[in-house]
Amino acid sequence: MVSLARRNLLHDRMRSAITIAGVAFAVTLVLVQVGLFMGLLDKATTTIEHSSADIWVTSRETPNVDFAHTFPQTTVLRVRGVDGVERADNLIIAFMNIQLPSGAEEGCLVYALEDFASWNLPWAVDGGDVRDLKRGMYILMDRSAERRFGRFAAGDYREILGRRFKIIGTTSGAASFTTAPIAFMDYHRAQELSQLLLSRTSYILVKAVPGADVQAVAAAIRRIAPYNDVYTRDEWAARSRRYWVVSTGLGMNMGVTVFLGVLVGIVVVAQTLYTSAVEHVKEFGTVKAIGGSDWDIYRILAEQAAIAAVVGFALGAALSYALRPVMAKLYLNVLVSPGFALAVFAGTVAMCLGAAIFSFRRVAGIDPALVFRT
């Protein structure tokens, strides 16, 4: 079957290029912006999702994993006594100042546990052993810290809150939404650094007995720790993400960016399709004169819009993919899941078809008698 839509697109090359470029721009904007946001959000929960804890016990109203408050560390003893709890340990997460060789002072986020290996924290260690952390004034520093702290290596020393720590290895992938680099140290070393941490903890990590109902175990912990909040891993990750999305306005900001991207796409596609429809109005009249219906004309416009959507999406997706290594060099992760890409594709098709509605209105009920006008 002859496709008048396809042939018209090929015939009006410049206009088609503008249409497709508009779609590709909108797709790139949405994929990269939302991808960056998703990458940032991934950082907000990466330690929650990598740790093997099924349940997190927090102080009341802790908004996200980075902004921890403390509570008595003895709470863990009661948690260990709850049916269905296989293991429970205290975890300190605290912002601390680190002295750099340059003399500058920066902030870092300290994760402190007695037994890191049991909780899969950190999960990617290079040139060191987490079990050695408890043997002295040792830390593991995440590789991403180089951007803020400058280059470092195992064997180097850094001062945290005035105490000298030896870097015994590096980790990778451990990051926080706040961009403060993460350092791992022994639980008791962390408590020695600050009076505020004496006999106190930030979280209790809980592992449920295999096969236990995690929700039921969490409910049982809530009953014995009424002054704490208790979340399953998914609940805690969702709460941490929600804080950054809702409370900071970042979600709104992202929504506005996506809206503007879609708006640009709609305006460009609608404008070019509409101009095309106006210029081809006599052809559409001819289609009707030779027996075509309004739907035959709508189909032509819809096919043009769909082609612009598919080609524009492919170009936009390719451009976004090509930008990933560039972003990675800036320690920015563009995270685009297949589900999100599929949603953007569906949105692109919907956007282009929506934009075509303006053209539909222009050609709706077109008078085929215009074919006799010169």
Binding site: V2, R7, E283
Partner: protein
Amino acid sequence: MGGQRMSGRVLEVEGVVKVFEEGAQRVEVLRGISLDVEPGQVVALEGPSGSGKTTLLSIMGCILTPTAGTVTVAGEVADPERPTRLRDIRRRSIGFVFQQFNLFPALTALENVEYALNVKGVRGAAARAQSRAVLERVGLGDRKDFLPRDLSGGQKQRVAIARALAGSPRVLLADEPTANLDTAVGEQVLDLFRELAREESKGLVIVTHDPKVRRIADRVVGIRDGRLAA
């Protein structure tokens, strides 16, 4: 109103009146026109500008509906209340040839014809084969892959005629088909029209200012102020 009517005529126009109303203004363009066209007959419809001949052609082509009167095409009465049926009549029984050719500029000669067949419901290899045959018929077999911009005026009009012939309609309606052609090419196109009407028993109505059309016409009908002149 709708229904089949058996008759030897391919086109019958009976008492057609057309009134255009715009606000309080009322213009009676056609005032009771009756006209029959037999198979194989060429009718030339002549008249000055504004006499109503293009309006009559539009009504005969089921593009416009008459205010009063009836039009019967290939035995089928055109019911003005049923636009879908009018479209079906156009699709099945009428081929149009326009003064400006009205070819699709992005399609080749072959595709222009094939697209018309697609609209009429003929698809795939059958449409392609019929399109080739029709283009051969109008002497453009060797230009089938040319875009309209690469064809001369006469060749464009031949493609337009081939497109009108696609689907073998019983009636051909041509609006000033020689107006944009030079004399020699215009003569060739008229010869082709006559040949098609005779050999394929098509009823052909040509709206024209061109006196050369009289040469091929079996009947010349004048129209003045919305009425047929003798």
